[in-house]
Amino acid sequence: MNDGPAAVVIRATNLTRTFGRFVAVDHITFEVRAGEVFGFLGANGAGKTTAIRMLCGLLLPSSGDASVAGHDVYTESEAIKRDIGYMSQRFSLYDDLTVRENIRLYGGIYGLSAARVRERTGALVARLGLEHVVESPVRAIPLGWKQKLAFSVALLHEPRIVFLDEPTGGVDPITRRQFWEMIYQTAAEGTTVFVTTHYMDEAEYCDRISIMVDGRLAAMGAPVELERQYGVASIDDVFLRLARPEGS
């Protein structure tokens, strides 16, 4: 979308979070540039969600610095929230409201005008193919569609950055594929995508990835570069090497 190095929209320096004596995120440092699809990989419990929650202003870091869209996570978390979209690991829309009502709720919260909400609802519903369930309570629709809906709601106010925390967890392979197509489209429209996953094959779809092991950033770079660096054929193998360094 642009030539030359794009602006840095997420910057973390020695970002750390501890819970009691447990160090969930241990001095991680990285930068994400505008328009990137940045993948955050790691096993369950590696600290991905904790990191994402700090960046979104949901959790105060224990130490280190970070800024998102130019706003400091300590002091300007409310300003960050205007510029980001977030889709949590756990489905977090109201399942007793209908698809339309959920969209309308978040449209109102982000201050979209009623006409704009109607317009966006129509566009989103058409893009997701949800026309026939738009008036059904969310609880009644299958998980894959719920996830797509959650993603769309996160994009409703056209944020500069969108954080997706394991968006494809528990979803069938076909839906996963469609999901990644939506991610690409979003990035193509200029939104930075910060996505976590523990599916290593999804890493190949990202522009750049970082791999978290036990709260630390073990590796970072474009997928192809990392495969070359470790001399293996896939990110899966890179990950296995990092996770069990002495093993093989």
């Binding site: 949901l58 929230k81 919260i109 982000y110």
Partner: protein, 389 residues
């Protein structure tokens, strides 16, 4: 403002969708109001009484008849054994034992005074006091009645003269007499329901409002929906307002419904201004619901929310003058009760409904309510954090 409305609208939809809760919100309180309004009375109509009449004279029979005729007492047993009487008391069959000694009539005629024995089950302190008052009144009335019929015997008069009581002024004319009239204002029929219906109504609306508010945010924490709201630019004040508003309307509706039922079914008096009552109720509900929401921000799960609600609501009820008089409580409890919004609202609603009080009469408790409402709102907004610990 648009944010608040959007959030509030979603909140309303969610409440309306939850049919089971909605039914509970409206039916349970109405049913309870209808039933419980009749429960609250200390009036003692048929105190079970055991009679031990050892005198067996027309005077002693007369006394027993006065007890039964009063409508307050019912004879459940009669014998000449005090042991049997005590057993009835212990078993709880009798609440009072009336024992008339053998020479009751004789000593009344001779000395113009005679003892009777009354044993009361004083377990229930206040109730016992009332039974005691009833009994004393009957005894006093019967004494007065006997005074005109029982002439002192010649013997007694002679004995009096011999005892040197001649110096006494003649008791017939010129004796001090005080004519006491009593007036029971606001509730001349002493009907307990007039007093309790407003109180029960307040209690019901409060417990439901507090519980709904207290579990509201806790439930969203459990479901995970709160996190999605926390990454939006909604401010804390907007969030609390949007949560409070629908519950506030719901509670006011419930109160209105209860008032109509109370008025139509129980003939509860509405002597003051209904508009004033609802104005105060609006302020009161802000306080009560904000306290509920505050609980909700404090706890992590609905279970914890409920236990805290239980604790608070018990304090609301039992330290508010709702059931037992506030004036009888120790000083420190009364001071503590100043923090209890229910105490002020119960006082105000009774004053408006039963006494016909106007704004001028309720300034003090109203002021307390306003302060409590503002404080509770402030605290719940501050306590609510968009970040987790």
């Amino acid at each position: 403002m648009r944010r608040i409305l959007s959030l509030a609208r979603a909140e309303v939809l969610r409440i309306v969708r939850d049919r089971a809760t909605l039914v509970q919100i409206f039916l349970v309180p109405l049913a309870q109001l209808l039933v419980l309004a009749n429960a609250a009375t200390f009036q003692i109509t048929d105190t079970p009484m055991y009679v031990v009449d050892l005198d067996h004279t027309s005077t002693s029979r007369g006394l027993v008849t006065r007890f039964t005729a009063s409508g307050h007492f019912e004879i459940i047993g009669e014998s000449s054994s005090l042991d049997l009487a005590n057993d009835a008391l212990r078993r709880g069959r009798a609440t009072m034992v009336l024992a008339i000694p053998r020479d009751f009539e004789a000593s009344l005629v001779r000395d113009r005074r005679a003892p009777v024995q009354i044993a009361l089950n004083a377990e229930k302190g206040a109730a016992a006091g009332i039974v005691q008052a009833y009994a004393s009144a009957i005894l006093a009335a019967y004494s007065a009645e006997l005074g005109t019929t029982l002439r002192p015997s010649i013997g007694a008069v002679r004995a009096g003269i011999a005892g040197g009581q001649l110096g006494e002024p003649p008791p017939v004319r010129g004796a001090a007499r005080i004519d006491v009239r009593t007036r029971s204002w606001y509730n001349p029929a002493l009907d307990y329901r007039d007093y309790m219906v407003p109180g029960i109504l307040v209690a019901l609306v409060t417990v439901i409002g507090t519980l709904l508010a207290a579990q509201n945010i806790a439930r969203e924490k459990e479901l995970g929906t709160l996190e999605q709201l926390n990454v939006t630019p909604v401010t804390r004040a907007q969030f609390i307002t949007a949560k409070l508003l629908p519950l506030w309307v719901l509670a006011l509706l419930e109160l209105a419904l209860g008032l109509v039922v109370g008025h139509l079914v129980f003939g509860m008096p509405v002597r003051g201004s209904v508009a004033l009552l609802f104005g105060v109720a609006g302020i009161y509900l802000v306080a009560a619901l904000a306290i509920g929401l505050w609980i909700s921000t404090l706890v992590e799960t609905q279970q914890q929310a409920m236990f805290v609600t239980f604790f608070i609501v018990m304090i609301y009820f039992l330290m508010s003058g709702l059931f037992t008089p506030l004036d009888s409580m120790p000083r420190w409890v009364q001071l503590l009760a100043e923090l209890n919004p229910v105490r002020h609202f119960v006082e105000i609603s009774r004053a408006i409904l039963v006494k016909g009080a106007g704004l001028r009469d309720i300034v003090r408790p109203l002021g307390a309510l306003v302060i409590l409402a503002l404080a509770a709102l402030g605290v719940s907004v501050r306590q609510y954090s968009k970040r987790s610990a």
